[in-house]
C-alpha cells in the first residue's frame, strides 16, 4: 500500500510540472500583452516592470487596427448560426437516409463519409470561385457553405446513432397520426439530443477557429477573429508585437470561457465523436 502512495506522489508531481509547461505559453502571452512593443521580442519571459508596462495601450491599438470588436461579433454570429443550421439539417438528413433504405440514400451516405477525408486544398479554389459566382461571398452565404462542408462528419455521427435507436417508436408515432415531419421533431430528435450536442461541439471548435475558408470566401470585408489576427501581420516583418499579443489574449478569452462553462459536454463530445469515428 505504501509503495503505491509513493508512486502516486511521484506521478502527481510529474503531472503538476507538465501542467505548468502547458500553461507557460499562455501566461507568457498574457504577460507580454501589457508590455511596450519593443521589449517583447527580446525578453518575452521577463514580466512587465515599471519601464515596460504600458497598461491596456496594446489592447486599444490592436482593437483599433484589426476591428476586433466587429470580428468578434462576426465570428460569434457565423459560428452560432452555422452550428445550429448544421445540427438541424444534418440530423434530418442522417435520420432520413438511415431509415429509408434505397440505393440512392446508401450512395449519399458513402458520399458524405468520403468527403471527410478530402483535404480542403482539393476544393478551395473551385469552391471559392463558385461561391463568388453564386454571390455567396457574404456571411449568410458562408453559413450555407459551412452546412455543405460540415455535412460529412455530422451526417456520419448522427447516422451512427440513429442506427442504434429502435424503429418501433417511430412506427407507433406514425400509427398515432403523426406525419413524418412531426415524428422526427417530436419523437426522434429528442432522442438524438446527446449526439446533437457532440455534433454541435465538434462543429463549434471547427468553425470558430477556421481561417482559410472564410478568408477565401469573403476575404477581409467581414473579418472573423482568425482573419483579424492574421491581418495584423500585414506586410513584411512589420508586426506590432504589442497589438499582436493583445489580440492573441482577446482571441483566447472567449475560447477559455466557452471551455470552462461547457467542459463536461466538450470532453464527452470529443470522446463520443471519436468512438463513432
Amino acid at each position: 500500500m505504501k509503495k503505491i502512495k509513493i508512486s502516486n506522489i511521484f506521478i502527481f508531481t510529474f503531472l503538476l510540472g507538465l501542467s505548468v509547461v502547458f500553461l507557460i505559453p499562455i501566461i507568457t502571452v498574457v504577460s507580454n500583452s501589457f508590455k511596450d512593443r519593443f521589449s517583447i521580442s527580446q525578453s518575452p519571459f521577463v514580466l512587465p516592470n515599471s519601464d515596460t508596462f504600458v497598461g491596456v495601450e496594446n489592447y486599444i491599438k490592436g482593437i483599433d487596427d484589426t476591428g476586433f470588436i466587429s470580428a468578434f461579433f462576426w465570428s460569434l454570429f457565423i459560428t452560432v448560426t452555422s452550428v445550429v443550421i448544421i445540427v438541424i439539417f444534418t440530423a434530418m438528413t442522417a435520420w432520413y437516409i438511415t431509415r429509408v433504405k434505397t440505393r440512392l440514400n446508401n450512395f449519399l451516405y458513402y458520399l458524405f463519409v468520403f468527403s471527410m477525408i478530402v483535404p480542403f486544398q482539393m476544393v478551395m479554389f473551385t469552391m471559392s470561385k463558385i461561391a463568388n459566382t453564386l454571390r455567396l461571398d457574404n456571411p449568410l452565404g458562408l453559413i450555407f457553405i459551412y452546412l455543405g462542408f460540415g455535412a460529412g462528419l455530422s451526417v456520419f455521427i448522427f447516422s451512427g446513432f440513429v442506427k442504434s435507436i429502435p424503429i418501433s417508436l417511430e412506427e407507433a408515432a406514425i400509427i398515432d397520426g403523426c406525419n413524418v415531419f412531426s415524428t422526427f421533431w417530436l419523437v426522434v430528435f429528442p432522442m438524438l439530443k446527446p449526439t446533437a450536442i457532440t455534433v454541435a461541439i465538434l462543429n463549434t471548435m471547427w468553425v470558430w477557429n477556421d481561417y482559410l475558408l472564410p478568408y477565401l470566401v469573403i476575404g477581409s470585408d467581414y473579418k472573423t477573429i482568425p482573419i483579424a489576427v492574421q491581418y495584423l501581420k500585414g506586410g513584411y516583418g512589420s508586426i506590432d508585437m504589442g497589438a499582436m499579443m493583445a489580440m492573441l489574449v482577446l482571441s483566447i478569452v472567449p475560447v477559455v470561457v466557452f471551455y470552462l462553462t461547457c467542459q463536461k459536454y466538450i470532453i464527452k463530445g470529443v470522446a463520443a465523436g471519436a468512438v463513432k469515428g
Binding site: L16, P25, W95, V100, M122, K129, F144, L248, V275
Partner: protein, 281 residues
C-alpha cells in the same frame, strides 16, 4: 412508413444535399477536371492533359521538398502526440488527486485556433532562440521542431481524452485476472491494456496522421515556410502555387489532387492496418 416519397426526401435531404453539392461535390469534380487544364478563372479552362502534373514535380523542387518535409513532420508529431497522450491517459485513470484539473489543463490548448497557436509559439520560440542570436526563421530545423512542439501542445489533450475513454472501458475483471495470474505492470500494459484500447489507437492515429498532413494555419502563422520555403508543408505549398503566382492555377490544382490521393491513401492504409489488430471484447 410512407417515408419514401419524394416530398419527404426533398424536405429532409434537400437542404443539406444542395449545400453539400455547392460547397463540396461540384468543386471536387471540377477540381479533378481542372487539374488537367490550364486556367486563370475556371471558365477559361483549356485541356492540357498531364502537363500540370509534370510541372508540379519537375518545374522546381518545391512540391517534393514540401512533401518530404510534411512526411518528416507527420512521423515526429504522430509519435510524440500519441506517446505522450497515451502516457497521460494511463496516469489520469489511476484516481490520482487533481485528475480533473490536469485533464482540463492538458486539453485547453486544443480549443485555440491554428493561427493564434502559431503566433503564440512564434513568441515563445523566438524568445528562447534570441539568447543565442537566432530566430525561428534562421534555420529550417527550428521551424521543424517548432511545428512538432506546437502540434504536440495542441493535439495531446484531444488524443488523451480518447485514450482515457478507451482505458476506462477495459473491464476491471480482466485487469484483476491478470493481477491474480501474476502479470506485472509492463506485461499488463502490453498484453491487456494496449490490445484492449486498439480502437482508440486506430482513431487517434487516424486523426493525428490526417491532421499532420493537412496542417495549414499553424504552418502559415509560425514560419510561413521561411527560410526559403524550407518549412513549407504541402497544404501551404498548394496555397502558394494557387495564389502566389498568376498562371499556375492548374499546377496548384494538380498538386491538390496528388495531395488528396496521398492523404486518402495513407488514411485508408492506416485504418486497414490498425483495424485488423483490433480485438473483439
Amino acid at each position: 412508413m410512407k417515408l419514401g416519397n419524394k416530398r419527404w426526401f426533398a424536405v429532409f435531404v434537400g437542404p443539406t444535399f444542395i449545400a453539400f453539392c455547392i460547397a463540396f461535390l461540384v468543386p471536387f469534380i471540377m477540381g479533378l477536371y481542372l487539374s488537367f487544364c490550364e486556367f486563370r478563372t475556371v471558365s477559361d479552362a483549356q485541356f492540357v492533359g498531364l502537363k500540370n502534373y509534370i510541372s508540379a514535380f519537375s518545374e522546381n523542387s518545391d512540391f517534393l521538398n514540401s512533401l518530404w518535409f510534411t512526411i518528416r513532420f507527420a512521423i515526429a508529431s504522430v509519435i510524440s502526440v500519441n506517446a505522450i497522450a497515451f502516457l497521460l491517459a494511463l496516469l489520469l485513470t489511476r484516481g490520482i488527486r487533481g485528475t480533473n484539473l490536469f485533464r482540463t489543463v492538458f486539453f485547453m490548448p486544443n480549443l485555440i485556433g491554428g493561427i493564434v497557436l502559431g503566433y503564440i509559439w512564434q513568441l515563445i520560440i523566438n524568445g528562447i532562440l534570441y539568447n543565442y542570436g537566432y530566430s525561428i526563421t534562421s534555420r529550417a530545423t527550428f521551424g521543424y521542431w517548432g511545428l512538432v512542439v506546437l502540434m504536440s501542445w495542441q493535439m495531446i489533450g484531444y488524443m488523451m481524452i480518447i485514450y482515457i475513454a478507451g482505458v476506462q472501458n477495459i473491464p476491471t475483471a480482466i485487469l484483476e485476472a491478470a493481477r491474480v495470474d501474476g502479470a506485472g505492470a509492463i506485461r499488463t500494459l502490453f498484453s491487456i491494456t494496449i490490445p484492449s484500447v486498439m480502437p482508440s489507437i486506430t482513431i487517434c492515429l487516424f486523426l493525428t496522421i490526417t491532421n499532420s498532413f493537412k496542417l495549414f494555419d499553424q504552418n502559415l502563422a509560425l514560419t510561413a515556410g521561411a527560410p526559403l520555403k524550407q518549412t513549407q508543408m504541402l497544404a501551404l505549398d498548394i496555397y502558394n502555387t494557387f495564389y502566389g503566382r498568376i498562371g499556375y492555377e492548374g499546377v496548384g490544382q494538380a498538386k491538390a489532387v496528388v495531395f488528396f490521393v496521398l492523404v486518402a491513401l495513407v488514411a485508408v492504409l492506416q485504418l486497414y492496418f490498425t483495424r485488423s489488430r483490433e480485438v473483439e471484447n
